[in-house]
Amino acid sequence: MNHDQYSDSYIRGILNTVKTIAMVGISPKDNRPSYFAFKYLLERGYRMIPVNPGQAGKDILGQKVYAKLSDIPEPVDMVDIFRASEHVLPIVQEALTLKPNPQVIWMQLSVRNDEAAALAEQAGLKVVMDRCPKIEYGRLSSEISWMGINSRTLSSKRAQILGKGVQRMGLNSSTSQGGETQGADRAQKTEENSG
């Protein structure tokens, strides 16, 4: 599959299906992006399991931290990887030893490893690379629009309130694609701007 872009229906399908997410490489510091994403997804109702060998046995946001994926004593639907691209392959290899296999391997914004992706796809898993599930959830639920961010979705249907107050939204409203951000899509490809 083409990993340069994903359809909204593919991403929405994943975020609507998975219930338990193991986040590999989460930081215990509350100002790090991984902590932000973990907390956000936890507040949206996902069962979140932190994985970080340096924090094993401690708690992050009330969730017990495991040293590695194979230590988790329950099935995991999605593995969200917050590690540099070159460290991804062994994590995916370990994920593929879990019984049952996870359904999805997700690599964070700026993380991409095509070899690991191909391995996961051969085993029948879905793969997302170089995306943040917090941003994608915010985009497809329309929450992110409150910050003036281009959600790239249009809809004549109401966004769905998730409950627990009025400022958390669900993913069940339908949207169609709403414009492109050529600039953003080009960003990582602009040679002069890289590095």
């Binding site: 329309s142 409150w146 959600s151 809809s155 960003a187």
Partner: protein, 429 residues
């Protein structure tokens, strides 16, 4: 509809982008959330919002759901990743530069800009230690020569007000990339209907919404669009984005917010602390205006083209500056950057000089004599006797506001009526 392939067109985005039905009431038009503040769902939710860990509403100085529709709408039309609405076009420029500059830094700006921007850069910005270095858009190399190690940005207008200058955005974007600094384009006169600067390499777009986006002469507003295409951490020279921020317990905005980090920095550091927030009511009026932007800009351009072609033939008129005219200096650049039309604004010179200018603005009956552009109504001003009156004659000429110069902002009336009013104004004794 296969959502992976189908990208909606500009007309569709102008109506729908950012404006889904209201989640709580189902209201289809965008509601005016005329409130200062928003209740938190609970204490944890409040903490998440203040810590930038959740998307949501706190206080209208930082964000408001009506203003957010406007922000997403313009960001979508420009092809950017995010927008930020502020109180005026001038406020947009302050907020952008506040995010980029530290005292003693420089930015390179086109010397052919809206006079208000020239004043702001020359005087107010220098009080902050943000030093403008002027370059000439008719001499692209002058931008490269103006770049120094202190340069943090380059600033141009796509179509410059009032002279009808079309700037070679792509050529200047190359200079900006080479210098490792963002290119900021004021796209007020063109609007994204006529020109999308991000497609030519711009990194940040600013607007005075007051003009064509609002379009009805009823609301002051400004907007910043993040192109999402600049690497803020490469050289560490933009500490607002690349350094841990003490305002938010050490968050690094560029790594936390990816390709919309600049818009977030403008919101949570600039707008929050400097304070020029847009009224939700103004945002509502401007959103309503944008729904007809494509129709209006096409008519503005067609009417202005007809008026320019008519003026060229008049014996009282010495010269007409409008890039849509075949012989105009900027006609070739116009064909590249604004192929659908050159917008509403044009200037011309009267052979009768200062007195003829005063006579014309006094005699017109349909044109309104005032200091704005981008209204449904046709507008006229004689800069030498109004906006530029305090300057010497030599300064007036250098600013493109010589004693003979008249500026028109052509409205949406019938072209025949606009021309008839100019004809009687020029002929009157």
């Amino acid at each position: 509809m296969a959502d992976a392939e189908r990208i909606p067109g500009f007309n569709t985005l102008a109506i729908h982008a950012g404006a889904k039905p209201d989640p709580t009431t189902g209201a289809r038009a965008t509601p005016i959330y005329q409130t200062t503040s928003f209740v938190f769902d609970d204490v944890d939710h409040a903490a998440s919002l203040f810590g930038l860990q959740a998307f949501g509403n706190i206080y209208t100085r930082i964000g408001n759901p009506t203003c957010a529709v406007l922000e997403e709408r313009v960001a979508a039309l420009e092809g950017g990743t995010a927008g930020l609405a502020v109180a005026s076009g001038h406020a947009a420029q302050v907020i952008v530069m506040h995010a980029l500059m530290t005292p003693g830094d420089e930015f390179v700006a086109s010397k052919k800009l809206y006079g208000g921007s020239i004043n702001q850069f020359n005087h107010s910005f220098k009080n902050f230690g943000w030093n403008v270095v002027w370059a000439d858009p008719d001499d692209i190399a002058s931008f490269e020569k103006a770049v120094t190690p202190k340069t943090k940005a380059i600033f141009i207008e796509s179509i410059a007000n009032p002279g009808g200058v079309i700037t070679d955005i792509e050529a200047i974007a190359k200079i900006a990339r080479k210098a490792g600094v963002p290119l900021i384009v004021d796209n007020t006169l063109a609007t994204p209907y006529l020109c999308k600067p991000i497609d030519y390499g711009a990194n940040i777009v600013v607007h005075s919404l007051t003009k064509f986006l609002g379009g009805h002469g009823n609301s002051i507003g400004g907007l910043i669009v993040d192109g999402g295409n600049f690497n803020w951490t490469r050289k560490g020279q933009y500490p607002m984005l690349s350094e841990p921020r003490p305002e938010y317990s050490g968050i690094v905005l560029a790594e936390t917010f990816g390709n919309f980090a600049f818009a977030i920095a403008c919101r949570v550091l600039g707008l929050r602390d400097l304070g020029p927030a847009l009224s939700p009511f103004n945002a509502f009026l401007i959103i309503t205006g944008i729904e007809t932007l494509p129709l209006r800009m096409q008519r503005h351009s067609e009417n202005a083209q007809a008026v320019a072609e008519w003026l060229v033939k008049r014996p009282e008129v010495a010269w007409v500056s409008y890039p849509g005219l075949a012989g105009d200096k900027y006609n070739a650049l116009a064909k590249k950057y604004v192929p659908k039309g050159c917008g509403a604004v044009l200037t011309f010179g009267l052979k009768g000089g200062y007195d003829a200018g005063v006579k014309l603005v006094s005699n017109v009956k349909l044109f309104s004599h005032l200091a704005n552009i981008g209204d449904t109504r046709s507008l006229i001003i004689h800069p030498a006797s109004t906006t530029h009156k305090q300057l010497s004659d030599a300064q007036k000429v250098q600013a493109g506001a010589g004693p003979d110069v008249v500026r028109l902002s052509i409205g949406l009336e019938d072209a025949a009526d606009i021309i008839a009013d100019l004809e009687q104004g020029l002929s009157a004794k």
